[in-house]
Symmetry: C2
Subunit: 486 residues, 2 copies
């Protein structure tokens, strides 16, 4: 790995790097204390960093876990692996702020997903910054500061899972949890040259998450490599009877993607005048064809209409319900842009909600019918990238533009994988996203592994990683993923 911070030996390590180090005798306390010491309190990607006590406590717990498996680290697939979680996800004893200090509380227990990761041996190094209440795709709507892009600080990081993407892109942790309601797990992946896996709704439990839109929220994962994202979701997902929207993953969920796939591409591509983004996506389509994919143009209208329904429809009422107590108690504690967005909820009646739901069902049906004809839809992860200044000038318009290729996904019950796709001609990163029906997550990951192995640019921020992820030949079934990790 590159040593962007020469003092930190673990920079840019993948899960396999961490596991190899431990197998060769490295000590979790040594590696993780060094990591903790290197994390900067004034880094706007973090809202809180594990204190020395919190780290010591987790290391002690790791010791207990290790004893429970008679010292066999292969039974703890994330033994001593550091991770970060977006600060709308609970961790016992940590504050959950959702980027709103006035809303914050100390969580009494771990979110379901955090508990699963910790039970596998993972160590929570910090809670990350976000667009307040996960309302935004920009990474600037937070009293804890705007998170800068890891390629050029004049640009936004993307959001709402801005901090989680940033700490992964800079190689501080091998994976981080985000959330994705309208694209929050994909836009910041694209803007920071990393992988963002938005799992099928309900595969990962939302117990212990501050909701954005409870019927749509998904806990997503960022990693430098698809393989790591896949390993993480395999460990933090799972049925949770306490979450009414949790679902059992079907036994026959696909895990393979054809080597020469048929991919749908929107006939109508919108880049909002960004010629470089357009050029880049056309080049990406060329790469896909060169790798054997057949591209078929499809009518993007139902996707665009569904995307619009999310942003200009009654689902905003879910965001209001989630933070109603803040509106009652302390409306001035809410970020003005977020407040302006969420207050729209008051304009919608139950009739509006049901009419929009009927429209959603029809559009989702059309979309799924289109996707049934292909292996996946391929879209630019974002139509453009904006500077901090552009966001300041038009905070709502720019934000909604960023959701062009993401907003429809959860309303239509789809799985999605945002992948790095090299740099635009101006040196800024640009991503490509593959979208498929529900439960196709692992099939998309199968494609993603091959895609990453064929790239020329290593993932992450400049200089963090100096080699490409190796192509992985074995089957991508859950069992084998876990075995590889262990």
């Amino acid at each position: 790995m590159a040593q962007a911070t020469p003092s930190l030996s673990t920079l840019g390590w993948t899960l396999q790097d961490w596991q190899s180090a431990y197998r060769e005798g490295a000590s979790p306390s040594a590696l993780l204390q060094a990591l903790q010491a290197a994390l900067q309190g004034d880094d706007p990607a973090w809202i809180s960093i594990a204190s020395a006590e919190q780290l010591a406590e987790q290391l002690l717990h790791l010791q207990t876990l290790l004893e429970s498996v008679a010292g066999d680290t292969s039974k703890l697939p994330l033994y001593g692996v550091p991770f970060a979680a977006k600060d709308n996800i609970d961790a016992a004893g940590w504050r959950t702020t959702a980027a709103c200090p006035e809303f914050a509380y100390v969580a009494s227990s771990d979110a379901f997903v955090v508990a699963k990761l910790r039970a596998a041996g993972a160590i929570l190094m910090g809670k990350t910054n976000l667009d307040q209440f996960a309302t935004g795709l920009v990474g600037t709507r937070s009293p804890y500061g705007a998170v800068p892009n890891t390629f050029d600080p004049a640009y936004v990081s993307g959001g709402s899972s801005s901090g989680s993407a940033s700490v992964v892109a800079r190689g501080l942790v091998p994976f981080a949890l985000g959330t994705d309601t309208a694209g929050s797990g994909r836009v910041p992946a694209a803007f920071n040259n990393i992988v963002g896996l938005k799992p099928t709704k309900g595969w990962a439990s939302n117990s212990g998450l501050v909701p954005a839109c409870r019927t749509l929220d998904c806990i997503s994962v960022f990693a430098l490599t698809v393989a790591d994202a896949q390993r993480a979701i395999g460990l933090y997902a799972g049925y949770d009877a306490a979450d009414g929207y949790s679902r059992q993953r079907p036994a026959g969920a696909p895990t393979h993607f054809p080597v020469k796939p048929t991919l749908a591409v929107p006939k109508q591509l919108e880049f909002f005048g960004d010629a470089l983004a357009q050029q880049h996506f056309h080049a990406t389509m060329g790469d896909l064809k060169a790798q054997g994919a057949t591209l078929v143009e499809i009518d993007f209208a139902p996707f665009a209409q569904l995307a619009e329904l999310l942003y200009y429809g009654p689902w905003v009422a879910e965001r209001y319900v989630a933070i109603e107590s803040m509106f009652d108690r302390n409306p001035d504690g809410i970020d003005p842009t977020v407040r302006k967005v969420v207050e729209q909820a008051l304009n919608y009646s139950a009739r509006d909600a049901f009419e929009a739901e009927y429209r959603r069902a029809v559009l989702a049906r059309q979309i799924n019918d289109v996707l049934a004809q292909v292996d996946a839809l391929v879209v630019p992860s974002t139509p453009s990238i904006f500077t901090m200044e552009q966001l300041r000038q038009e905070p709502v318009k720019r934000n909604s533009e960023l959701g062009t290729y993401t907003n429809f996904t959860n309303l239509a019950d789809l799985s999605a994988l945002a992948l790095p796709a090299g740099l635009r001609s101006d040196g800024l990163p640009a991503g490509v996203t593959l979208i498929a029906p529900a439960w196709h997550d692992m099939a998309l990951a199968d494609f993603g592994r091959r895609w990453q192995a064929a790239q020329s640019l290593p993932p992450g921020a400049p200089g963090v990683v100096d080699r490409l992820p190796a192509p992985i030949q074995e089957k991508a079934s859950d069992e084998i993923v876990v075995a590889v990790v262990g």
Copy 2:
């Protein structure tokens, strides 16, 4: 069969009786013209009866169908079989009133389900009365008259599918389509001693149905025998890409029910003071045990809470959306009780709708977790039965009492089968309903066939049928059902 109307030879005929008659050379026109002549225009069960022209046209079409299969009637599983449809379901060229003359229109095409039945050779004999806009469980809320109970005209027929239940109970047609949103396909089955099958949501398309609650509506079927209900649903169900809520039936949907099942029974049974209903249900539980069932008491609280959520929650907004144009144009054309119910919609915001949806999800999860432990839930189809006079005095309260054991079903995405269960000690019919998770319809029917064969009272109104349905031994898979019909 008994000859309650001696002039009508087809009275009380099952599908098999109709098929046998045709195999033995009977002519559709002779049998159906006689039936048409026997149907009474002043019978409040009908809103419209096939005119001589409408019948002639259908007989002509039947001839064309027969030619298309080279005269092989076995390829037309409903060849010349008469049926009725609730008058909120479209049939090309017929008025659809939804029991509101001011709302009525002439349908330009068949509803999806009607088209499927007609393609199988069935003949539509009439459109039946209902609680206006399918809003009610009573059968009295219609300007076309209250439908009397077929056992005692002082009592209600139950609704909203009052007319369809009545014409089946009286043996006029072997099956009739109803709809079921809150129990409209089960309450009138119980009150008229017939079978009411409420299929899993989305198995039958709702294209061409005047919606009540579009997210909950199911097109149900009434028949004298479970076997006939099963044959009908096998023919009118099926995926429809034009209906956003249509679903594919899973390949592995269960079709068998254990001979010695484990059945859940509510610990808290509510009969609203009706001692005869209570006695009857206890006797029914005795019958179930005698037949080898193990009964286990369960907490009914989540079921009762979900039932309440339907009646006192924002789903009423769906009913408003369905008839918004009537409210705008001609509110006085709406039945006063129905209007009072549906106007409640205006009190609910989008926030209310989402909060109720979250509550629904949690309760539905609890309910499905309970049902996963047993083969089915068994409940009285209704907690009591009311006279026309009782309904006049308390139209809303009595109505909601009738939904005690039905209201939760569609919100929790369940399948249900209402079965005749003999007479109470006062000679009124009482039903029992089996409820199971989605797609367990055919497994419930497997139970229902055995149940009916073990009864002592034949189905239908008094004297309509003089023998019990024969136990049927073959497998209840779709394929075989169709084969049996053909």
